[in-house]
Structure formats: C-alpha cells, structure tokens
Amino acid sequence: MIRFILSKLLYLVPTFLGITIIAFSFVRILPGDPVLLMAGERGVTPERHAELTAQLGYDKPVVLQYFDFLGRLFHGDFGNSLVTKKPVLTEFLTLFPATVELGLCAIIIATLIGVPVGVLAAIKRGSWFDQISMTTALIGFSMPIFWWGLLLIILFSGILGWTPVSGRIDLLYYFPDVTGFMLIDSLLSGQKGAFTSALSHLILPSVVLATIPLAVIARQTRSAMLEVMGEDYVRTARAKGMPPSRVIGIHALRNAMIPVITTIGLQIGVLMAGAILTETIFSWPGIGKWMIDSISRRDYPVVQSGLLLIAGLVMLVNLLVDLTYGLINPRIRNT
C-alpha cells in the first residue's frame, strides 16, 4: 500500500510542474509589457519603468524568471492582486470557504438523490420509474446550468418570492467568521433568523450546481448496479434463498459503490467549472466569481495564481480519490 501511495505521489510531480509552467507562461505570452499593464492608464516614466522591470525581475532570461516564480511558490508567495494589492493567497483563502460550502452542499444533494434513484432504476429496469428517471437524468446532463439558474430565479425568486436572488446572507445579519461556512457560523452566532437566511440563500445555487453531478451519479449508479447484478456471486446469493433486500443491500450495492465513489470524487472538476457559472449567476462571493471578475479586470497575477491553486486542488482531490479506490479495491494497487 505504501508503495502504491508513493508511486501515485511521484507521478504527480511532473504534472504539478507542468501546471506551474502553463500558469507561468500564460502571463508571459500575454501581449504587452507587464509593467505597463500594472501601471494602468496613468502611465509610467522611463526611469520608473526600468526600475520596476528590474525590481520585478522581468529583465532576466525567461528560464530564470520561471525558477524565481517557482521559488516564490514554494515560499507560499503567490503574488499580489493588481486591483486590491492584497496577496492572492489571502484572497483565495478568504473566498474559498464560500465555494467549498456551495460545492459540498451540491455534492451532498447529488449523492443523496442520485445513488438511490440509480439503484432503484437498476432494480426496476425497464419500468416507468427507470425510463422517467433516466430521461430526466439525460436532460439534467444536457442542461446549460447558467440558464437553469436563471429559470429557477424567475420561478422561485420572481414569481413565488421564496428565495433571495443573490449573495450568501441578508445584510441585516453580521457575525464573525469562525469556520467560513455561513450555515455553521450563522448557527454559532445565535442570531434569530440568521440560519434560515443563510439556508435560503444557499438552496438555489446548490441545486443548480448539483444538477449535472446528480445526473452523472444516477446514470453511473444504475449501470454499475446492472453490471454487478449480473455477476455470479449475486446469482449464488439469490439461489441460496437470500431475501432480495439482502442480496441487493449486502452483495450488489457494496460492489457497485466502488465505481460510483470514484465518479463522485471525479465530479470535483465539474463542480469547479460549474461554480464559475453558478457563482456568477447568483453573485456568490466564491472562487469562481473571483476568477471571472479577475479575468474581466485583467488582474493577471490573480488569474495566474488562481488557476494554479485550483488546478493543484483538483489534482489533490483526484489523488485522494485514487488512493481511496486503491484502499477499497486491492486489485488496483498492484497494477
């Protein structure tokens, strides 16, 4: 097992270096002079320009610049935002919990609905439930979620007036950040109505973000269940007179869950892409909206380091998924 973990970790090193090269070269291939870009419309005198170029290391060869960049990364220095002047890492860490809260909620909704629906559809293969749920799943899978979000806003915020349109909580409430998760912090603050407010802000964005993972999980669970239910050991269990509920619960479900867990884990990339759209529609102050805003403000240090941090994170989660997979399925370890 230790060899398996080590080999997986070793495998990540070139990928991570590749990610840093892409993030680095991305700023280098940008048209225009980075110093002029930073100076903005005010412009800069030639002396100051030369001074800044030397100070920021832009006069050195590109390869040296890359190693400087890499060195700073290992010291936790991800550069400063051109707009707010704050360190990118600080901004990232401030906004990150909002995205995690949204993403966790979405994946919980997707799993809690997707897995039972998939299992039921597989058991009742060919029934109306199977057909309706799988058609719905395909529609969900094909959904432009930015439009889906707008439709839900029209219905639940516009017509019914049940949920707010944007943000994480009503401005009436103020309490200190403890965990960064609005749901937990609002409960800890003990303010009346704060939790309900946070929940009503969270519900629509998480449903929108959950849509595609939910469809994928339901479809994957169904096909995994169907595959397992055709296996010999399930037939044996049936043949020896085990009640169907036990056959499905103990034999089939457990084995079918292995690929499903992987699928759920691999949704993190989908969630990050979805978060960009969902956070933009609902003005959710998370990483996705931050990236979009930075791209349109041409705040390149933020875009560069944000890209790096997000890719690194997705890579880490994928590693965890791989390791979990190796843990539940010993056959994988030795390949």
Partner: protein, 300 residues
C-alpha cells in the same frame, strides 16, 4: 479479376456492417428521436435565410420587448417576441443554430484530428515519446475544462474563433488518450505484424492499418464532445468571452437577456431552451451510437 471480386466483397461487407449498425441504433428509440431533432436542426441552420421572418440583427425601434404572439400584447409579426433592442427572437434563434453547429463541427474536428495524431504517435512509438506526450495531456486534464478555456480566451482575446480554439485544446487530450489506448491494444494483433512484415512503413501502419480499427470509441467521444462544445461555447458566450454581440449566438443572447429575467421571460427562456434541446438531441444520439458501435459498453 481477383481485384474486382475483392472490391465487390469489401463494399458488400461495408453495406452489411452499416445495416447491422442501423439495426442496433434504431433499437434505441431515444437515439432515433435525437437523430431526427438533429437533422431538423441542421436543416434549420442550412435554410436559415429562407426560414427566418426577419433579419436577425435589424432593430425594430417600434417593437422593443414585444412578448410572443400568443401573449396579450404580442404581435403576429414577431412570433416569439422581440428582445430589448427590438430584434426578432425567432430569427435570432434560427440563425443561432448556425453558430452552434459550426462551433460543434470546428471544435470536434480540431480536437479529433489533433488527438488522433498525438495519440497515434504516443501509442505507436511508446517509450519516452509516449511518456512525454501523456504527461502533457495529464497537465491539460488537471485543469477544470471551462476554467482553462476561459483563461485561454482571456489570453487570446474574447471572440468566437479564440473560444473555439480554446475549447478544442481543452478537449483534445480525451481523444489522444482514447486513440493511444486503442492503438496499444491493436499493435499486438497479428494483422499489424503481418502488415509490418509485408513492408508497410510507419505512416501507412499508423493511418491505414491501425487507425480504422480504432474509430468506434472515437466516434462516440466525438458525439459527446460535440454536445459539450455547444454547451461550453454557450457558457463562454454567456460570460462575455465567446461570440460577441450582436452575433445571434444562444449563450451571448442569454447574457444580453440577463437583466430582463424578471420582466421579460421570453428573452431568457427561448435561447436556453434551444441550447438544451440541441444538446439533448446530440446526447441521445451519442447514447445510441455507443450502444450500436461498442458491444462491450452494454446499454446503461
């Protein structure tokens, strides 16, 4: 003489294969429905000039935000209503079909050709060529696709062409991986050895001998990528990074419609519905293709 008989039987085999393919494909009612909708979509795109009642970019200043004709204030001239600057929604939706299909075709072609060449090189030569290529593909796959496409567009400059290039770059590793895996399993087969012994060069082995036998998974992936490309380019348009106004691209139309979501439902509803229906039709087709082309992947 022998040549002629060989050619004839080749054609017969091809016909037989096509018939078999259609048999399995038509078993899947959803796939046939998807195919019909897709053909309609192609027809709408091709005959957009004939079908659309108005010019998609002409602004009728006397008809701002007119609701669809069946609503109380609707007008018969604007069947699906008009947008905030008085452009006919139906005409814009019809022309939007051209954009979506064009984007899908261009993205899939670039990604497919690039992926096949890269995957063939990696699978055929193996060794360090394979290692280097596949590590680079891993790096691209480590980024969430929409995010990488967004950043690439930010570097290249917003616009439809750059959006298509960016999406194609992001999709290409999937094709490369599939091709490589297929090539590696085909390389061990006897017919490849036979062709090599017969004196076939590397290029001939790669493109004429091996590639045709690796196509099935690539076709399925191409269909799925087509629908993703339509979705992602609409998302880029919605975020202001894809096709630029006044292009009647569906995602861009949605972006322009955002401020009217609570006052004019039709400017928001129809473009999104058009995206959903097209993507759904292509995905239905993709499911059918997978069932018909790949017996290993059972119906799911």
């Amino acid at each position: 003489m022998t040549d002629a008989t060989v050619k004839l039987s080749d054609a017969a085999i091809r016909r037989r294969m096509l018939a078999e393919f259609w048999f399995y494909f038509s078993q899947n009612r959803g796939a046939v429905l998807g195919l019909i909708v897709f053909i309609l979509l192609v027809l709408v795109a091709v005959f957009a000039g004939l079908l659309s009642p108005h010019d998609p970019t002409v602004q009728y200043r006397d008809a701002l935000l007119v609701p669809p004709m069946w609503e109380e204030k609707g007008r018969a001239a604007y069947i699906l209503g008009t947008d905030a600057v008085g452009r006919d929604m139906l005409s814009r939706l019809i022309y939007g079909a051209q954009y979506s299909l064009f984007i899908g075709i261009v993205v899939v072609s670039i990604a497919l050709v690039g992926g096949i060449v890269i995957g063939l090189l990696a699978g055929f030569f193996g060794g360090w060529v394979d290692t280097v290529i596949m590590r680079v593909m891993d790096v691209i796959l480590a980024f969430p696709s929409l995010l990488l496409a967004l950043v690439l567009v930010a570097v290249l400059g917003p616009g439809l062409t750059n959006a298509m290039i960016a999406i194609a770059i992001v999709y290409q590793p999937h094709f490369a991986r599939l091709t490589r895996a297929a090539v590696m399993s085909e390389m061990k087969r006897e017919y490849v050895t036979a062709a090599r012994v017969a004196g076939a060069g590397n290029l001939r082995l790669m493109f004429r001998t091996i590639l045709p036998n690796c196509l099935a998974p690539l076709i399925v992936q191409a269909t799925l990528s087509f629908s993703s490309a339509v979705l992602d380019s609409a998302a880029l348009g919605f975020l202001g990074m894809g096709a630029q106004p006044p292009a009647p691209e569906w995602g861009t139309m949605l972006a322009e419609a955002r401020e009217f979501i609570l006052s004019a439902w039709w400017v928001v509803t129809f473009p999104g519905l058009a995206i959903l229906v097209s993507v759904l039709a292509i995905n239905l087709m993709g499911d059918g293709l997978r069932d018909a082309l790949d017996p290993k992947l059972k119906r799911s």
